[in-house]
C-alpha cells in the first residue's frame, strides 16, 4: 500500500482582512514519492496550497483556516515552522528575495546551520548537494552577481541541503530563460530519483512533460479536475486552451542559439531586409560596454571594433506597426539593448532615426518608453489618473480618460496604483507610455509571471499598440507570447544581432 505523506482535509481559507474565500473545502492526499503539479489561473489557490503545506499559513500569513493539514506526521497547525525545516523545503518564485546570505557557500549551509547540525556534517552535506546538483562552478561567488537561473540553482541546492522529504516549488520558472528552465528540470529529476515527494505550482507546462505523476487543476479555490501525468500531456491543443492553460509544447524559438544561424565574428546575413522607410525607425551605431577603459578627461566613444562590448549594433531597421520579439539567453544583452535604446545608458551614443528626424542622447528618452519587468519601480503617484497626467506634456483630462478606457482601467482611475493587481499595474505603466506619446514601446519580460489568460491579454494589447503605429519591442522568454503576437523575432547573442526573422 502506498503511504501518504501530505494530507489536506476539508480545508477552507481566507486571508485576514479579505472577504474572498481563497480555498473552499479542499481535500488532497499526496503519496510518498509522487510528483504532483498544481495548475490553474492566477488566484485559483495554487500558491495558497503550497503555503498550507510549508506551514507559512497559518504561522506567517494569517487568516481564517478551517480543516486539517498533516505533513509527514506533523499536524501543521500545532507545529512551529522551524520544526518543519528538515521535512518540507520550498523553492520560491523570485530568486532575488529568497536569499539570506550574500555568498553562495553561505546560502547552501544556511539551513543546516539553523537546525544546529554538527559543522562536519554540514560540510559533508554541502559537498553532496554540490555534486548532485552540479553547481561546482557557482561556489565562492557573490549572490548578487549571479544570473536568475544560477540564483535559482543555488536556491534549489540550499533547499536540498536540509534533506527534506517534501519539496515544494512555487512557480520556479518565472524568471528563467530556456536554458535555465532545462536545468531546473534536471534538478527536479535528481530529486525524483532520490524518491522525494515533489509538489510544483506552475503556469509554464512544457518543461514538465514526463516528470509528473499527477496533475491537479485548480479553479476558484477548488480542485476542479485531476489527471495522471500521461493523460494530461496527451491532451489536445484545444482541450488545453479550453482550460485556459499555457500550451503543453512550444515551438523551438530558443533551442537554436543565434550562432547556428550566423557566424559570430562577421555577424549575420540572415537579417531580413526591412526597407528603410520613413515610417519605421533606424538604429545607428549602438555600441556600449559596462567596462569602459577610463580616459583621463574625456569619455572615448565606443566603436564597432572594441572588444568585450555588451552591445554592438551598427545599424538595424525596425519596421513600424510591428511587434518585435527580442530573444536570447539570460545575460546576453537583451536588457542592455533595451536600456541603450531608450537612452538610459548615457555612454551609448547611438542615434535613432525616425520620421525624418534623428534623435540623440537625451532626446531618445522622449522617443521611447520602457515598461520594466518590475512595474512597481515606475509608478510614482497616488492615483492612476495622476500617474497618466504626470506623463503628459500638457495635462489633458479628456485624453487621459480616453487612454484609461481603451486599456480597460478607467474604473480604477482614482485608486492608488499600488493597490492594483500585477496585470493592472502593467496597464497603468502602458497608459503613461501612451500619454507620453512615445513612438518606441519597449517591454522587458512582461509575461514572465502571468497565466495564459493574462498573457493573452498582454499579447492583444501589444498588437493593438503596434497597429496604432507604435514600434513595439518585447524582450521575452515565453515562446507562447511570440506565437501569439510577434511579427518578427530578433535574436541577440553576446550583444550582437543574431538574426531577425519574420514569424510565420
Amino acid at each position: 500500500m502506498e503511504e501518504s505523506i501530505v494530507k489536506i482535509e476539508h480545508v477552507s481559507f481566507k486571508y485576514k482582512g479579505s472577504n474572498n474565500l481563497l480555498l473552499n473545502n479542499i481535500c488532497l492526499t499526496i503519496n510518498k514519492g509522487e510528483t504532483v503539479l498544481l495548475t490553474g489561473e492566477s488566484g485559483s489557490g495554487k500558491t495558497t496550497v503550497i503555503r498550507l503545506i510549508n506551514g507559512l499559513i497559518p504561522h506567517y500569513y494569517q487568516g481564517d483556516l478551517s480543516g486539517d493539514v498533516t505533513v509527514s506526521g506533523y499536524d501543521i497547525k500545532n507545529t512551529q515552522l522551524y520544526e518543519l525545516a528538515g521535512t518540507v523545503g520550498t523553492v520560491f518564485q523570485n530568486p532575488r528575495s529568497q536569499f539570506f546570505s550574500v555568498d553562495t557557500d553561505g546560502e547552501i549551509v544556511f539551513g543546516p546551520e539553523n537546525i544546529g547540525l554538527d559543522p562536519d556534517e554540514i560540510l559533508e552535506r554541502k559537498d553532496m548537494v554540490v555534486c548532485d546538483m552540479h553547481i561546482e562552478k557557482l561556489l565562492g561567488r557573490s549572490l548578487f552577481e549571479l544570473s536568475g537561473g544560477e540564483k535559482q540553482a543555488i536556491a534549489c541546492a540550499s533547499v536540498s541541503a536540509l534533506l527534506p522529504d517534501v519539496i515544494l516549488l512555487d512557480e520556479p520558472s518565472s524568471n528563467l530563460d530556456r536554458v535555465s528552465i532545462e536545468r531546473l528540470r534536471e534538478e527536479i529529476e535528481v530529486w525524483k530519483s532520490q524518491g522525494k515527494t515533489i509538489i510544483i505550482s506552475e503556469h509554464r507546462l512544457w518543461y514538465l512533460n514526463g516528470l509528473l505523476d499527477r496533475v491537479i487543476f485548480m479553479q476558484d479555490g477548488k480542485m476542479a479536475n485531476e489527471w495522471s501525468g500521461n493523460e494530461f500531456f496527451s491532451k489536445t491543443v484545444e482541450e488545453i486552451r479550453e482550460l485556459k492553460l499555457r500550451p503543453l509544447c512550444v515551438r523551438n524559438y530558443f533551442t537554436d542559439d543565434c550562432k547556428r544561424e550566423c557566424d559570430g565574428k562577421t555577424g549575420c546575413k540572415n537579417i531580413v531586409s526591412v526597407p528603410e522607410s520613413k515610417d519605421g525607425a533606424v538604429l545607428r551605431d549602438f555600441y556600449f560596454s559596462y567596462h569602459r577603459k577610463p580616459f583621463l578627461f574625456f569619455k572615448r566613444r565606443f566603436t564597432e571594433n572594441d572588444e568585450g562590448l555588451a552591445l554592438n549594433t551598427k545599424s538595424l531597421v525596425l519596421p513600424k506597426g510591428a511587434v518585435i520579439g527580442v530573444i536570447g539567453k539570460n545575460g546576453t544583452g537583451k536588457s542592455t539593448f533595451l536600456r541603450c535604446m531608450c537612452g538610459l545608458e548615457n555612454d551609448c551614443k547611438g542615434i535613432i532615426e525616425s520620421g525624418g528626424k534623428s534623435y540623440k542622447g537625451r532626446e531618445r528618452l522622449k522617443l521611447s518608453y520602457m515598461v520594466m519587468q518590475d512595474v512597481n519601480h515606475q509608478l510614482f503617484t497616488d492615483s492612476v489618473k495622476a500617474e497618466v497626467l504626470l506623463s503628459m506634456e500638457k495635462e489633458d483630462e479628456k485624453h487621459t480618460d480616453d487612454i484609461l478606457k481603451s486599456l480597460g482601467i478607467y474604473e480604477y482611475k482614482d485608486k492608488h496604483p499600488m493597490a492594483l493587481s500585477g496585470g493592472q499595474k502593467q496597464r497603468v505603466a502602458i497608459a503613461s507610455a501612451i500619454a507620453a506619446n512615445a513612438k518606441l514601446m519597449l517591454f522587458d519580460e512582461p509575461t514572465s509571471e502571468l497565466d495564459y489568460l493574462h498573457m493573452e491579454k498582454v499579447g492583444e494589447l501589444l498588437k493593438t499598440l503596434a497597429s496604432s503605429g507604435k514600434i513595439v519591442l518585447v524582450a521575452t522568454h515565453d515562446p507562447e507570447l511570440i506565437d501569439m503576437c510577434c511579427d518578427y523575432v530578433l535574436c541577440i547573442e553576446n550583444g550582437r544581432l543574431g538574426y531577425m526573422k519574420r514569424v510565420e
Binding site: 506567517y60 515552522l81 539570506f100 555568498d103 539553523n114 544546529g116 536540509l162 520602457m370 520594466m372 512597481n376
Partner: protein
C-alpha cells in the same frame, strides 16, 4: 598576503575608532594617534585588494586633513573659508568611522557575523535583525538604481523642480519594493529554520588568531595613550 580577521576584532575596531573620533584631538600627539588609526583600516582594504576604495578614502581624508591644517587658520573669515572649515572638519572628524564600517561590511560574511555574535552571547533577536540589515544594503542599492532609471525615463529626475516631489517619487516605490522583498525574504528564511529554539551551529570556525590579538592589543594601547595624554598628563 592574506589576513583574515575575526568579526569580533572588527567589531572592536569599530567600537574603538568611533569612541576615539568622539574625543577631540588637541595636541599633535593626539592627532598622530587619530591619523594612525584611520590608516589601519585603509591598509586592510589594500590587503583585501580593494584598491579603489582605499585610494578614494585616502585621497578624501588627506585632502580634508591638509585643508584643516593649512588653509583654515584662526583668522579665516568669509563664506568660503567657513564653508571649508565646516566641510573639512566633518570629514576629518567622522571619516575614520566610515572607513572602518565600510571595511567591516565589505569583508564580513553574514554567516561569520552571526556566529561571532552568538559567541559573544548576544540575543538572537538582535543578531538576526542586524544580519538582515547587512543583507539588505545591496538590495536597496539595486532597487534604487531601477527606480532612478524609471524616473529618468519619464523625465522626473528633478521632480518637476519640486524638491518634495523629488524625494516622494523616489521613496514611495522604494519603500513598497523593500517591504515586499523583506516579506518574501523572511518567509523564505523561516521555512529554512531560522529562528528556531535549537542552538544555531556554524561551519565558520571562529578563532582569535595572533593577528587578532595583536590588533586588539594595539587598539587598546592606543586608546589608553589617547585618554591618558588628553586627560591626565596636564
Amino acid at each position: 598576503m592574506k589576513v583574515k580577521l575575526d568579526p569580533r576584532t572588527k567589531l572592536y575596531m569599530i567600537l574603538i575608532v568611533s569612541a576615539l573620533i568622539m574625543l577631540s584631538a588637541t595636541t599633535p600627539f593626539l592627532w598622530a594617534i587619530r591619523i594612525f588609526i584611520t590608516f589601519i583600516p585603509i591598509a586592510f582594504l589594500i590587503v583585501e585588494k580593494r584598491y579603489t576604495s582605499a585610494f578614494v578614502f585616502t585621497g578624501a581624508y588627506t585632502l580634508a586633513l591638509i585643508m584643516t591644517f593649512v588653509l583654515v587658520t584662526d583668522e579665516s573669515s568669509g563664506f568660503l573659508k567657513s564653508f571649508l572649515t565646516g566641510y573639512s572638519g566633518i570629514v576629518v572628524q567622522f571619516m575614520p568611522a566610515l572607513i572602518v564600517a565600510w571595511y567591516v561590511v565589505r569583508t564580513t560574511k553574514i554567516d561569520e557575523f552571526m556566529s561571532a555574535m552568538q559567541k559573544m552571547h548576544i540575543p538572537d533577536g538582535i543578531t538576526i535583525s542586524l544580519a538582515v540589515v547587512m543583507r539588505f544594503f545591496p538590495t536597496i542599492k539595486e532597487e534604487y538604481g531601477s527606480i532612478c532609471d524609471a524616473m529618468k525615463m519619464r523625465g522626473l529626475s528633478l521632480g518637476g523642480g519640486n524638491v518634495a516631489k523629488m524625494v516622494e517619487y523616489r521613496m514611495i516605490p522604494l519603500l513598497f519594493s523593500c517591504v515586499n522583498i523583506g516579506d518574501e525574504l523572511s518567509a523564505a528564511a523561516i521555512t529554512r529554520g531560522l529562528g528556531g529554539t535549537v542552538k544555531r551551529s556554524s561551519i565558520e570556525k571562529l578563532r582569535l588568531t595572533v593577528h587578532d590579538w595583536m590588533l586588539i592589543m594595539m587598539f587598546s594601547a592606543l586608546t589608553i595613550c589617547f585618554v591618558y595624554s588628553k586627560y591626565f598628563k596636564a
